[in-house]
């Protein structure tokens, strides 16, 4: 495969940010098909349109997900990318790697594929971009046998679960996001690899309400760490912040002169529930008023810590706009213990209840959040056998159109019109 002239892409080789063009050119020296990737992309830059065909069903035996078929619409001009299928490889929890593992994976990918990757795809998988149909089975064999690794999800199935780095390197994580993510990923291998759902389904695990994996905006089941007792305060450290000895917000604002740290202005006055005040130089918190937004803890990480009775809030139904509009997840379970000790019993029971219901009544390509919208939250929680509580809503309804059930009304719905007319002339 020959080089192509790429005058437009070449302009992306300058500038301070790392250049994918430079990187691809270097890879092309040992993997010549990368010249065709560059050539086809250059043509897209000229034509201002994609040159990839729609879809193409390819995969490995026994799996219905993990590989996305892709073909060039200019195969004569760019034979190196005639087939350019994507492989999704399940990432380790929190995306920690050893160089040995990454090197082995890269050797495998240069052997069977283009040598081009994404670290990582939006859902969290390692994305290997570009291989031929005939390479899929040999790659999968080597991946499983040599590396003991596996594909992730694609299509109408459970997508590869993802988590923040959790307690591995964060003081705020209220449960072990890595462990539950790993355990549930293993438990639901069948659901990840063999599509049986109405549409895609995602789990994401964030350790605290800062939500670093965007669980609340992107996952059908969002597990977001929280606590239910008091924020732990180190009053001596509060004084250090007030004295300016510790940088506010972990030093996040140190690039600009914002003036001296002002506890009243920067924490107490901004608190959304106004549940903090100073008594002398002691910081007080009325914890029953606190909604655990994390602001004060973010500002003073050395003085304040989440409470010790930790667990997670479970929210359900987030999705991007296609089709009914974007949805954030809705709070369904305010507090659940997330513990390996009971093998995540409560969480698993909830997940499987949601799936059983959604697989039965969800329409083709309907995310669970859309199914919830269609049937209404009251119906959804009834099916889930969860009692209604005000934490599930922002405000009560402002219309009176309640769907009363017959059994809720004395005497039921059946009445005798003749008996009615005997007393009420028409």
């Amino acid at each position: 495969m020959a080089k192509h002239e790429t005058p437009l892409l070449d302009q992306l080789e300058t500038g301070p940010w790392p250049s994918f063009v430079t990187d691809l050119k270097k890879q092309a020296e040992t993997k010549p098909e990368v010249y065709d990737i560059l050539g086809q992309l250059e043509l897209s830059y000229e034509d201002r349109i994609t040159h990839w065909k729609h879809g193409g069903i390819v995969g490995v035996f026994g799996y219905g997900g993990g590989i996305v078929g892709r073909y060039s619409d200019m195969p004569e001009k760019f034979p190196g990318v005639q087939h350019f299928h994507t492989i999704r490889v399940a990432q380790p929890a929190s995306k920690y790697y050893s160089s040995d593992n990454l090197r082995a994976l890269m050797t495998l990918w240069e052997k069977h594929g283009s040598g081009v990757t994404n670290f990582h795809g939006s859902t969290g998988d390692i994305i290997l971009l570009g291989t031929k149909t005939e390479n899929l089975e040999p790659f999968f064999w080597d991946l499983t046998h040599e590396l003991g690794q596996d594909l992730g999800g694609s299509g109408s199935n459970l997508r590869t679960p993802a988590c923040c780095l959790g307690s591995s390197r964060c003081e705020w994580s209220c449960y072990d996001t890595q462990e539950v993510c790993y355990q549930l990923t293993l438990k639901y291998q069948d659901e990840i690899h063999r599509p049986a759902f109405p549409y895609k389904f995602k789990f994401k695990f964030s350790g605290c309400p800062n939500d670093c994996v965007a669980a609340i905006a992107r996952s059908d089941i969002s597990v977001i760490g929280t606590w239910r007792d008091e924020i732990r305060i180190d009053q001596a450290a509060v004084k250090e912040y007030v004295a300016g000895n510790y940088p506010a917000n972990g030093g996040a604002h140190s690039g600009r002169d914002w003036g001296k740290f002002d506890l009243q202005k920067e924490v107490i006055d901004i608190c959304p529930t106004q549940c903090m005040w100073l008594e002398g130089d002691e910081l007080k918190i009325d914890d029953k008023e606190c909604t655990r937004c994390m602001h004060c803890i973010n500002v003073m990480p050395r003085a304040l810590r989440p409470g010790a009775e930790q667990g997670a809030s479970i929210l359900i139904g987030a999705k991007a706009p296609i089709l009914e509009g974007a949805q954030m997840s809705t709070l369904i379970i305010p507090f659940m213990k997330i513990s390996k000790d009971d093998e995540y019993e409560d969480l698993i029971e909830l997940i499987e209840k949601v799936w059983d219901w959604w697989m039965e009544i969800g329409k083709n390509r309907e995310r669970v959040g859309e199914t919830m919208q269609r049937v209404g939250l009251p119906t959804f929680i009834k099916v889930m056998e969860i009692d209604p509580i005000p934490q599930m809503i922002k405000e009560p309804r402002s219309n009176p159109y309640v769907f009363w059930n017959e059994e809720e009304v004395p005497g039921g719905f059946a009445r005798d019109i003749d008996e009615f007319r005997a007393r009420h002339k028409a």
Binding site: G15, P16, W17, P18, S19, F20, D23, T30, K31, L41, S44, Y45, I49, T50, K53, R70, F84, T86, P92, S94, K95, Y96, Y97, S98, S99, L102, V116, N118, F119, H120, S122, H145, G148, Q149, S168, R169, C170, E171, D176, L186, Q189, P209, N210, D211, V213, A214, I216, N249, G251, A252, H253, S254, G255, R256, E266, H295, I322, E324, M328, R365
Partner: protein, 375 residues
Amino acid sequence: MGYNPDKPMEGRLTDLGPPHYEQFMPQVIKDNKGKWLWHEIVQPGVLMHKSETGDEVYTVRVGSARLVTCQFIREVCEIADKHCEGKLRFTTRNNIEFMVDAKDKVQPLLDDLASRGNRFPVGGTGAGVTNIVHTQGWIHCHTPATDASGPVKAVMDELFEYFTSMTLPAQVRIALACCLNMCGAVHASDIAILGIHRKPPMIDHKRITGVCELPLAIASCPTGAVKPAKAEVDGNEIKTVKVTVERCMFCGNCYTMCPAMPLADPDGDGIAILVGGKISNRISAPKFSKLVIPFLPNTPPRWPEVVEAVKTILEAYAKDAKKYERVGEWAERIGWESFFEKCNIPFTEKSIDDYRLAYNTWRTTTQFKFTSHVK
């Protein structure tokens, strides 16, 4: 040994799942998991976490293009071997993190990274712009309305100083999705760059019978614009679909379901800018991004109109917002009418919602500000 095409199922391994995470964690991380007490950003791109055991871990955060090659990953491995006992991690925003267990190991690592040209920019922490979460675009996707890696490179080149510093009122999360499917959380980002189509799908009557389930194509349209129809192909009447163009909102869902309905177009396609979304529950609830610029053209290779728009919004925010205030919180405090004025963005009817639940966004109070919009 290896794959035997004659006996594909013999010795097959499946459903192994991901490798256990613990084997990949640096020793200091393994030793202190669950014991971390607090952290501090010691300089842009360098974090220090302190454990109750007294241990410290220093993390150097480095931006990457996300679209990277095996060669690049090998270089990352070489750095990890030299400085970090062969361990590293990636963040959810496509940054690479190199971790060392002592302060005196930080500078040699930084020096090494700096010696490698522009390949490993250190930053992306605190009140700055971190790496752009993005999608595939023209490098690999069949439905994009724009490229992904190109506009990201162009924007990050221009915003580079905000990646390597911490001078903003709060963190600014920028994301790019190359079509309305929005792979990645573009719908909840401070500044979102979104590829959009503006021409209704064409109907390839010659192919539709072979490649589409017509009822699925019809059902795929959220506004009911796709209807059953008949057409003549080579003298034969075939069943097909037609599109009521006035009802088309250019979402592309029909094309996802039916390859015979392509809608991409060099002049029709381009980029919309949305702002004010966030994920975190900090101070205010998570918010969706709102559409403020309905269309900018695709102008490869450097998308100057998009770069300019993002920079203008970012700098208006940087100048005007209060400490800790995210872009969306700032816009809500000053009022969206002031946002459009301060960012010098012309307001058009296209920013007024007319899709589902649109009424929720209409103003039903006498409280407003007299900006230049009020004539």
